[in-house]
Structures are given as structure tokens and as C-alpha cells.
């Protein structure tokens, strides 16, 4: 019974850790705006965590630049299981307008398995909430599979 309680809670309390992998900050501002009173993602239980050890959902924004690649991967490795990786914006999906640049080392899913992609430049807040809610569901499925 405790196990069922834990599984149910997985979807209801997703904590988010945000990593900026060279982003222009547009998506970052939109992410923080999602937590403001107008859109209020906190009613679904979302909370920004201060350290990757506390996180369930890792949100990566920005095309993965060469300088930030090691750090992003190290930080993602430090997140405890079960975890969900969400790419925010078109940059980590495909490189967006920076594709082919000397300092951009490609979409994120070359290095880690990405579970949810939220496309847009910058994505609408409603789209971000939709993506995060989907991520919360995926965490629950991952937990049930364990």
C-alpha cells in the first residue's frame, strides 16, 4: 500500500531543476514565468529545486555548446533515478538558428535519452505546462516499471 502511495505521489510532486546549456535566456524567462500567478504551475506541484540531487525533472534549454556540454552531462548524471529529461525550446531539439556553428555540439539527444521535447522559440507558457505535465506522467510510469 505504501508502494501505491509512492507511485501516485510521483506524478503529483515533480521537482524541476533547470540547466542553461548556452541558451539566449528567452526560454529560461518563460520557464520562470510559468511559476508566476498568471499561469501558476505550482498548483500541479511543480517547484524549482536548488540542486540536482533534489530534482525529478531536468529541464535543459539552449543548444548544447561545446563549453557547457561536460557540465550539463555531469549535472544530469548527478540527478537520482527515476528522472525525466525535458528539452525546452527548439534549440536543444535541433540547434534552431545556431545549427552548424563551431561552438554548438548538436542536439541534446545525441548524449542523453530525452523524454519530452517542448518545441518553440520561445514556447508558449501553456505549451511548457503541457510538456511538464506530460513529464510528470512519464516519471510515474518509470517508477512503476522499476
Amino acid at each position: 500500500m505504501i508502494k501505491k502511495l509512492i507511485d501516485e505521489s510521483m506524478a503529483k510532486s515533480p521537482w524541476v531543476f533547470h540547466i542553461n546549456a548556452g541558451s539566449c535566456n528567452g526560454c529560461d524567462i518563460e520557464l520562470v514565468a510559468v511559476l508566476t500567478p498568471r499561469y501558476d504551475a505550482e498548483r500541479l506541484g511543480f517547484k524549482l529545486a536548488g540542486t540536482p540531487r533534489h530534482a525529478d525533472i531536468v529541464v535543459v534549454s539552449g543548444p548544447v555548446t561545446a563549453q557547457s556540454k561536460d557540465r550539463v552531462l555531469r549535472t544530469i548524471a548527478q540527478v537520482p533515478d527515476p528522472k525525466v529529461i525535458v528539452t525546452l525550446g527548439s534549440c536543444p531539439c535541433s540547434g534552431n538558428v545556431f545549427k552548424g556553428s563551431y561552438s554548438v555540439v548538436g542536439p541534446l539527444d545525441k548524449y542523453v535519452p530525452v523524454d519530452v521535447s517542448i518545441a518553440g522559440c520561445a514556447p508558449k507558457p501553456e505549451a511548457i505546462i503541457d510538456g511538464l505535465a506530460l513529464a510528470a506522467q512519464i516519471i510515474k510510469e518509470k517508477r512503476e516499471k522499476q
Partner: protein
């Protein structure tokens, strides 16, 4: 039989189960009302409970740099000492374990959970934790002075009813209040009550005094490397601490209320706890920013200690 009664006290009421449920509820309404104050919908009141169970389902990562046994044991020691503290505070006339001088015991037992966070953070071997430990300790140094002044003042007031002249026992304070009305209605106790309302968020680690666990500035401070079940226990301790501190406020200032029916008394006490939480923690969180560590120390040792000292002097000269 006595052993069974004691086990019920420890594990169910007012011990582990009751404190956890009620503490998590208090944390929940704190977040909900805060959200409403900020014109948001806010998380459901059950949210801290969901947080607790979710954390139990996560993996516990122990960093290589950490001192393992201290790292893993610290949350449980903090929780155990909080439960022991609850057993010393009378709720509506029920006090699980009384003695003659329990204020001093409570004062020291209340430092153990903060100590557990500090040693757990130290043991994790992270420099963020080192900074967090330093700030948490400065917070403890800040609130201890006003707290001891408040307790001495209340002890002196209640001691008038007994031949010693002073008392340290919460049971005797409750008896005095049952005979003479709640302490808050004495003029000399009002500065002390205001001081206590400031001490409570500092002790619990709520804004604006949460510099020890500053979320984004030092990456959660002492809790930076914690994950999984130990983190769940720390969050639970935080919630129970809210309950314990507000219960202490009730016992010191608003005790002695008895309507004759036990369950109604308990409900009244819980209601007072909720109101105190809203006033000193939620309201402060909603309208202020976080204080820097030296500002907090200065505030407590000048203004708040001054209020408590005023109360002590007033009680001493007999008002």
C-alpha cells in the same frame, strides 16, 4: 500496561503519527494560503504529503566525499529528538512525560534537529553545505538569546502561583493558566509573545529567516547532497518542527483553555497552531524578502531580545 500506554504516546498520539499528519497539514496550509495571498491557486493542501512520499521513491545517492554513517543517520536523529520534544509539551492537558524542569529540556532538545541538519550537511563534504552550516549556526545563536529570556519571563510569571517563585515546568505553567487565564492576557507578556512570534520562523527556518537553507544562493545549503529517503525525513522534520514550535507557543501563552471535552480542546489547540503559523510564517513569507545573515543576527540580539528583556523586567517588578 504502562509500557503499552507509553508506546501509544510515542508512536501515535502525540508522537510520530499525530505530529507527522498535523505537521504536514500545517505545511500544506502554509503553502496554500501563501499562494492565495499572491493571487495564485496554489498547490493542494496535501502537497507536502505527496512530496514526502515521492522522495521515498527516489534513489539515495551517497557522494564519495561524504562520511557515510553521519550522513545517513543525521535525519533520523533529528526526527527522533523532535518526537521526544513533542512528548514533553502538554496538549490540552495531556502531557506524555512531565518533569519538574522541562523548559530547559525543550530548549536543548530543540537545538538537536538543527544540529542534525548541520552535521548531516557537514558530513556530505560539499562546500555549499559548509557555508549553509555556518549560517544555520548563526541563526541558532541569534534566536537562543530571546528564547531563553522569554522562557524565564514565563517561568517567573507562572511561578507566582507556587511557593518557589519560579517554575520551569510546562505542567505548572498550564496549571497556572488554567487558574488565572491565558498568559497572553497579561500586559507584561505581550512583548514576550511578539518576540516569540519572531523566534518561531527563525527556529523553523522559514522566510524571512531561512538564510541557512537559501535555496538558490547556496544550492539548499546543508541539504545539497541529500536525496531519497534521508531527504524525505528532513522535510518531514521541517514540517513537524512547525507543529512543535507553534504548540510551544500555545503552551506558553495560550494554555489552560478547557471546554471539558477532550477532543474539542485538542481541536482548539490545533486551530491556534494553524493561526500562529499563518501569522508568523505565511504572512512574513508573503510580504518580506530574506534577511542577510548579519542583519538577522543584529535584529534578534537587539530588537527581539530587547522585547523579551522588557517582558522579563515587567514580570519581575510585578506587573
Amino acid at each position: 500496561m504502562k509500557l503499552l500506554m507509553n508506546l501509544v504516546y510515542i508512536l501515535i498520539f502525540p508522537g510520530l503519527l499525530f505530529s507527522s499528519v498535523f505537521g504536514l497539514w500545517l505545511a500544506g496550509i502554509d503553502r496554500k494560503i501563501l499562494a492565495r495571498m499572491q493571487k495564485r491557486v496554489g498547490p493542494p493542501v496535501m502537497q507536502p504529503t505527496y512530496d514526502f512520499f515521492k522522495l521515498m521513491g527516489k534513489e539515495t545517492i551517497i557522494p564519495d566525499n561524504a562520511a557515510r554513517s553521519t550522513f545517513l543517520l543525521a535525519p533520523y536523529i533529528g526526527l527522533a529528538s523532535l518526537i521526544v520534544t513533542v512528548l514533553f509539551i502538554p496538549i490540552a492537558g495531556i502531557q506524555a512525560f512531565g518533569g519538574v524542569a522541562d523548559i530547559v529540556v525543550i530548549l536543548y532538545l530543540l537545538t538537536i534537529p538543527s544540529l542534525a541538519i548541520m552535521f548531516g550537511g557537514s558530513a556530505s563534504g560539499s562546500p555549499f553545505a559548509g557555508v549553509g552550516v555556518s549560517r544555520t549556526m548563526v541563526a541558532i545563536m541569534s534566536y537562543e538569546l530571546p528564547l531563553i529570556l522569554i522562557m524565564l519571563a514565563v517561568g517567573r510569571l507562572a511561578g507566582r502561583g507556587f511557593d518557589m517563585g519560579i517554575t520551569f515546568s510546562l505542567e505548572k505553567i498550564a496549571q497556572y493558566q488554567a487558574a488565572n487565564g491565558p498568559n497572553l492576557f497579561c500586559w507584561s507578556m505581550i512583548p514576550a509573545a511578539v518576540a516569540m512570534l519572531f523566534v518561531i520562523p527563525c527556529e523553523v527556518g522559514a522566510q524571512p529567516f531561512d538564510v541557512g537553507e537559501a535555496e538558490t544562493e547556496i544550492c539548499e545549503g546543508p541539504l545539497v547532497e541529500y536525496s531519497g529517503t534521508p531527504l524525505a525525513i528532513f522535510k518531514l522534520s521541517h514540517a513537524i518542527k512547525m507543529f512543535v514550535m507553534t504548540l510551544l507557543f500555545t503552551a506558553l501563552f495560550l494554555g489552560g483553555i478547557s471546554t471539558g471535552m477532550l477532543w474539542l480542546d485538542v481541536v482548539i489547540v490545533l486551530g491556534i497552531c494553524a493561526v500562529v503559523t499563518l501569522v508568523c510564517m505565511t504572512l512574513a513569507h508573503a510580504i518580506t524578502a530574506r534577511l542577510k545573515v548579519e542583519q538577522m543576527f543584529r535584529l534578534f540580539w537587539t530588537v527581539i531580545a530587547g522585547l523579551a528583556l522588557l517582558s522579563l523586567i515587567l514580570v519581575w517588578i510585578g506587573i
